[in-house]
Symmetry: C2
Subunit: 207 residues, 2 copies
């Protein structure tokens, strides 16, 4: 099993070299040709179009890790989505780098613990969490109120909601009033924010 390091320039990352003394430094183009399924490849996030490179290399079956000097949750996602199985700070201690290598060569995923929380938290919210909250919120409404709320959240005006549901605009307003009371929101704006995930609300504090 060979270990490769792909970077834009010829940077030697000291900690990294310390961790993998037998590794080879290659250019993006070479990587595409040389890498095989048994290899472990480290890609610096300063390589242009690195997500594309990672995606290509992934097809070879190799274990891929992305390194960044300024890790962000977003970039972490980008890396994982492209097929990398690790996302680490470029200046991580050699023990950490070796640990990550061990993990990814065993089909595992390695992300710094601090990023982990945010990554998983974000992902969870994105997939299930937000929906669940939304559902719970909607369950507090009656059937009719739910219809109205959902229509309003689509951006329809009261008149449009009325047409869609075959009732008077007046009735829509009545339902909306009930919805606002039950959910404790002040207007339709806050309603869509509530039902579209997102922080509690960004109301002004000092009147």
């Amino acid at each position: 099993m060979a270990t490769y390091f792909v970077s834009q320039g010829r940077d030697e990352i000291p900690r990294w070299r310390e961790a993998f003394s037998a590794a080879r430094l290659v250019a993006p183009a070479q990587a595409r040709a040389w890498v095989t399924r048994e290899d472990c490849v480290w890609v610096m996030a300063d390589v242009e179009a690195w997500p594309g490179l990672v995606e290509v290399l992934r097809r070879s079956g190799a274990a891929l890790a992305v390194m960044s000097y300024a890790p962000t949750p977003r970039e972490a996602f980008q890396a994982l989505d492209a097929g990398a199985r690790a996302y680490v700070h470029a200046l991580s201690p050699p023990e950490v780098l070796r640990q990550a290598a061990l993990v990814i060569t065993h089909q595992g995923i390695w992300v710094p613990p601090d990023l982990m929380a945010r990554v998983v938290g974000g992902a969870f919210q994105a997939l299930g969490g937000a929906d669940r909250l939304r559902e719970e919120t909607l369950q507090r409404l009656t059937e009719r109120e739910r219809s109205v709320a959902l229509a309003v959240v689509e951006g329809l005006s009261n008149k449009e909601v009325a047409r869609r549901l075959g009732i008077t605009e007046r009735t829509v307003k009545a339902h909306l009033g009930a919805i606002f009371r039950k959910l404790g929101v002040r207007d339709r704006m806050q309603l869509v924010l509530r039902l579209s995930q997102r922080e509690p609300q960004a109301l002004e504090t000092g009147h």
Copy 2:
């Protein structure tokens, strides 16, 4: 390092026992008391309130894995969110289980490859993809218009936006008018929908 298995009943998972012959089967209550930071704990997803249990055990610093007979992306998130570092099918082959154990005891995360794609894919799209569009949209506005738009999307009223930016409510309306024209939306509702990802828009067709 001890390996524990937490389950509701006294089920013996054959593949699991095969993988960890020296492991101990414990009840949820015992687990809370016995587990230490060096241990590796496997929790069956049929234990009632398993997410809570996982969260408690996580504080001990132990490596946690959740096993399910019917894995779903959603449950996977729930497990990871609770603090588990692995989520595997209860009937996985012993090699896989041992591999997962190796990974999680080295701070890695282990999720079945097929679930991985759906999990990361969905999350990335939700986190990163949407904002890119949002940024592109915002770039079409002038600096001031951007400020107004962002404030409006937070749910602030014109008056509140005016206070925040230190300008007149009239001016806020002027900026908003320009924003609506530029982005081709009819009102603030459509604006928040546009800037909060989500489908094109659900305008009425007729009339």
